[in-house]
């Protein structure tokens, strides 16, 4: 008489399933590293560096941070709290002010011919500036540009910038380019 093979007990199946579930739960909730994303400029040999790049005074927004973590914005003392507003005003120049940057017309998809600012934000820090302050300043400058883009996205497409399709985001990025130049640090008193 053939022996019947006993059935494999399936009581522990639930436990195995739970184990897998917990495994995936744990692996997917690993906190993602986040931070301020920036792109460094291409390395240029100091000997080949020519200082022929002349940018008009009104087109540059100068932010200096000294070793005591104080801010000098366009030649006067400033607080970090006001920096975002001032950077926004500089990049947008809504009233076409003479002292704020020039604009030049450009063809941009979705917008047609648009006036695009020629403004550049220049950030320079001292060697003894604290990293925390530097990041706070960078953050405000990036935030200014992000806010401008978001406002434009809401006006034009009725949606926040983050939820737009890729080509619309590109168009908005063309209108408000992120031009933050980080000059090499010098001793700023």
């Amino acid at each position: 008489m053939a022996k019947k093979i006993p059935e494999i007990p399936s009581a522990s199946l639930a436990d195995i399933a739970f184990m897998l579930l917990i495994f995936f739960l744990v692996t997917t909730t690993m906190d993602v590293d986040s931070g301020l994303e920036r792109r460094l400029p291409q390395w240029v040999d100091p000997e080949q560096l020519e200082d022929d790049q002349q940018i008009k005074e009104r087109n540059v927004f100068v932010v200096l941070v000294n070793r005591n973590n104080q801010l000098l914005v366009e030649g006067e003392y400033a607080q970090i709290d006001n920096l975002r507003e001032r950077a926004k005003e500089f990049m947008a120049n809504p009233t076409n002010d003479e002292s704020l940057p020039e604009k030049e017309p450009q063809q941009i998809p979705y917008f047609g011919e648009t006036m695009v600012t020629k403004g550049v934000i220049s950030l320079r820090n001292d060697l003894d500036t604290q990293y925390g302050t530097y990041i706070a300043v960078q953050n405000e400058l990036v935030a200014a540009i992000n806010e401008l883009r978001d406002e434009l996205a809401r006006d034009e497409f009725g949606e926040p910038y983050d939820e737009l399709e890729r080509d619309k985001q590109d168009a908005i990025r063309d209108v408000y380019p992120s031009r933050i130049s980080e000059a090499e640090p010098k001793k700023v008193d």
Partner: protein
């Protein structure tokens, strides 16, 4: 005659211990997973700065890390208290960064190399001098895409 007659002493059945190994395995898995989260052991003390405009580092395999901060207590007798750079599991100098970037690049697929990101985990009390030096070295080794690691700022 009652249908529900008490049939003498009823014993409480013992709790089954068959699932005990599973529970233990579960714990084991939990600890295994949670302890391998960091690739390196920190030898420097890092409090990240706060920021609001964060973007996430999504592809972990493309990220290489540079840590900067004061050495931990147990290393202070050897390395002092001035902020130092940590690459992988050892302290390094600014000059080592180029080699590190090249080594990291070699370890990746050819197709992935252009998308590599360098994450700078720097203590917020570090002076910018050392950070600028690192940035210059990164520019020299053409690792231009960087990420200043920071915490989400809590609005108060």
């Amino acid at each position: 005659m009652s249908k529900f007659k008490d049939t003498g002493k009823k014993e409480i059945p013992p709790i089954s211990t068959a699932s005990l190994p599973d529970i233990v395995f579960m714990l084991l898995f939990f600890f295994m997973v949670s302890t391998t989260m960091r690739e390196v052991t920190y030898m420097v003390d890092i409090t990240l700065p706060e920021a609001t405009e964060l973007s996430k580092l999504e592809k972990k395999s493309l990220v290489s890390y540079i840590y900067v901060g004061e050495p931990l207590k147990q290393y202070q007798s050897t390395f002092g208290v001035a902020p130092r750079i940590q690459l992988n599991d050892q302290f390094a100098n600014v000059n080592d960064i180029q080699d590190y970037v090249i080594a990291e690049r070699e370890a990746r697929d050819e197709a992935e190399r252009p998308m590599m990101i360098t994450s700078l985990k720097v203590d917020e009390n570090t002076k910018m001098g050392i950070v600028s030096d690192i940035k210059q070295e990164l520019r020299k080794s053409a690792a231009l895409h960087i990420n200043y690691s920071s915490r989400q700022k809590v609005e108060r």
